[in-house]
């Protein structure tokens, strides 16, 4: 029996040896977040795409209450076995991060801890209970930080009945005038490939964004030399555009640039491949047109910059990896969801103000509703 038990335990340990990791870094600790991601990647730990996908959660930064609550929700949505690491102090240096990840893996593999966590029933029921509230307040109860996103309904005034305490999705006219379910979805503040701290509430008919409101901007985003910010924006767009291989090869360019390391031969090859790619150009064409430039133009320009530009952090200091918040609704409304995500990522590079206040919007400062004129529909 001991043999069976120990074998099962070893198998379990092996199975959990490469956990999927999600790093939630507050806007002012972005680079520490990158270091954690790089440390995880060098161990072969894949990045998680959603809370359901994640095994290890790394929270970086002393979060303000609302961001802390968002991290809590991520944690809440993760299933056992799971393990959480909080980096609040100065655990920046490599060895500190490695120790924390080691410890996370030990906790992840500890059978008793995980079993206790898994049998802690009623969490879902609790969440459900919170939502079993009069219509309209469901969103408020929910805190607005639901990354996993099952936030249906709650649309103005249409009472369609309810199921299990959740209001039903109401219907509204889509761009062709058909009555379609209206879904409400909040993006952020934490999501892979999303500017940390930004919260955008979108209304969807089908998979088309019909309105978008920036509810919260990052307060004091970290600023970087331009090549670093450019490299990060490029990797993010490639990742969201589904070019996994390119994103993977180029993923450590931002950090390397921060440490003034020139791109390697493989990275340069991929940069010129991305710049030349007709398929990518076609996929990004007409996405987020700002100043007569679309996402495809910006990506090509970034590749060019990284290929020809300065060797390291010699560029102008003071770029954030966040978009100007007032642009977001303009480029998102009327587009399909995928394109909306890419649109935001392709603008996530803006000059920050001296002192690091960045381009952050004041909460609830922007309320824009667009219902027609879907320019990017074809």
């Amino acid at each position: 029996m001991d043999l069976i038990a120990s074998t099962a335990n070893r198998l379990r340990g092996w199975a959990l040896g490469r956990p999927r990791v999600a790093v939630l870094a507050s806007p002012e600790r972005t680079s520490t977040g990158w270091r954690v991601e790089a440390a995880a990647a060098s161990r072969g730990w894949p990045r998680a795409g959603s809370p359901a996908d994640a095994d290890v959660l790394v929270v970086v930064g002393d979060h303000a209450t609302d961001l802390a609550r968002a991290c809590g929700l991520w944690w809440h949505h993760m299933t056992a076995p799971r393990s959480r690491v909080d980096i609040s102090g100065e655990a920046d240096h490599e060895s500190g991060i490695d120790e924390l990840l080691d410890a996370a893996l030990v906790r992840l593999r500890d059978r008793d801890t995980q079993r206790a966590a898994a049998t802690r029933t009623g969490e879902a029921a609790e969440l459900l209970e919170q939502r079993r509230t009069p219509h309209g307040s469901a969103d408020d109860q929910h805190g607005g930080h639901d990354v996993g996103g099952h936030d249906m309904g709650g649309h103005a005034g249409h009472d369609m009945g309810s199921v299990a305490g959740l209001s039903m999705a109401s219907t509204g006219q889509d761009r062709d005038g058909l009555a379609l379910d209206v879904l409400v979805h909040r993006w952020g503040p934490f999501l892979p490939g999303w500017p940390a701290g930004l919260v955008v509430r979108t209304t969807l008919s089908g998979d088309v964004v019909t309105s978008a409101v920036v509810e919260q901007g990052p307060s004091r985003p970290e600023t970087f030399p331009r090549p670093v910010a450019v490299a990060h924006a490029l990797v993010t767009v490639l990742d969201l555009a589904g070019w996994t291989e390119a994103a993977k090869v180029l993923s450590h360019v931002p950090l390397a640039r921060l440490d003034a390391i020139a791109p390697t031969g493989a990275e340069q090859r991929w940069l010129s491949r991305v710049r030349r790619s007709r398929t990518l150009r076609w996929a990004l064409r007409d996405v987020a047109v700002v100043d007569d430039q679309d996402a495809a133009d910006r990506v090509a320009q970034w590749c060019e910059e990284l290929l020809t530009g300065a060797k390291g952090g010699t560029g102008q200091v003071g770029w954030t990896v966040h978009p100007a918040a007032d642009l977001v609704p303009l480029v998102v409304v009327g587009t399909e969801l995928a394109r909306a995500r890419i649109a935001v990522a392709s603008l996530a590079l803006s000059p920050g103000r001296p002192g690091g206040t960045g381009s952050g919007a004041e909460p609830h400062a922007h309320h824009q509703h667009h219902h027609t004129d879907h320019g990017g529909a074809s």
Partner: protein
């Protein structure tokens, strides 16, 4: 089901993940990890349809495999009078399966992933049917065994390259993989799979990997002569060709971003569909003139 079929199921399910991760161990480890993971349920899910999807994806892959000649003697597990239609029907089950998988968690992102799959289906389904029809026309039969006989002279990939290419692309599309991974895209946090964990996710992912392997074996069968080889024909040739087809798919996928489903639909209807029709026409003329 024979021992041969069971072996093939294992090989075909692991082939693509192994080539993609370039590791023998990691695909097994990810599978084991999912087995150790807690299942997950959001408030008010559609349990019935969710379970249906979990059963349907691997079953559809097995049903498709039934008409691929993977026996040691070179025979399929099942031979009907309309094998090509059978394969098509098994693939169409994925429409239902992915939709149910996206619908059931009661969550926005999987639902949008499901919408995207339907949009993608509009792109690939008709070209796929025309490429299968072209194979049937050239062989004068819908039986896989007749298709193999008809390729004794020249492989179909030579006479119908468009149909072969379309079939491979359609395989990636119905499995929502590679450049056609939009319905399970990273921009949706995994889309159809965004909320699914544990054994259910394992069943969906493994079923999808198996279907891709089966489609690669079917590509080798319909267009590359199947188990026939220059010397010592046999199942090893089919295996070799299947590995090659899969390797080509993986290599192509590395070089491409995801094709946005709503833009792909334009290309599919304006360019690809007419091309497949012309391809069918050309092959029909060749058959009428007795060239094939």
């Amino acid at each position: 089901m024979t021992a041969a079929t069971v072996l093939w199921v294992v090989v075909l399910a692991l082939l693509l993940p192994i080539l993609q991760t370039r590791s023998l161990r990691e695909p097994l480890r990810s599978g084991a990890r999912l087995l150790a993971e807690q299942p997950r349920r959001l408030p008010a899910p559609d349990v019935l349809l969710g379970r249906l999807a979990v059963v349907l994806v691997p079953s559809a892959a097995l049903l498709a495999l039934a008409v691929v000649p993977v026996g040691f003697a070179g025979a399929a597990w099942l031979s009907t009078s309309a094998d090509l239609v059978w394969f098509n029907a098994a693939e169409v089950l994925l429409w239902v399966a992915w939709w149910c998988a996206g619908w059931s968690p009661n969550s926005v992102l999987p639902l949008v992933g499901a919408y995207r799959f339907l949009a993608q289906g509009l792109s690939y389904e008709l070209p796929l049917m025309f490429s299968l029809i072209t194979v049937g026309v050239a062989a004068g039969s819908l039986r896989v065994s007749d298709v193999l006989l008809a390729q004794q002279g020249v492989w179909f990939v030579v006479v119908m390259p468009v149909a072969a290419a379309v079939f491979m692309c359609a395989a990636a599309a119905f499995a929502s993989w590679g450049p056609f991974a939009g319905p399970m895209g990273r921009d949706l946090g995994g889309g159809v799979l965004a909320e699914t964990t544990g054994p259910a996710r394992l069943a969906l992912s493994a079923g999808r990997a198996l279907f891709l392997g089966v489609a690669a074996a079917m590509t080798a069968t319909l267009f590359l002569g199947g188990p026939a080889g220059p010397v010592a024909s046999g199942w090893w040739w089919l295996l070799l060709k299947t590995v090659l087809v899969t390797a080509v798919m993986v290599a192509l996928a590395r070089r491409l971003p995801v094709l946005p489903p709503d833009r792909t639909v334009d290309v599919a209807w304006v360019v690809v569909l007419p091309l497949t029709i012309v391809q069918a026409l050309v092959v029909s003329v060749l058959v009428l003139r007795g060239v094939l």
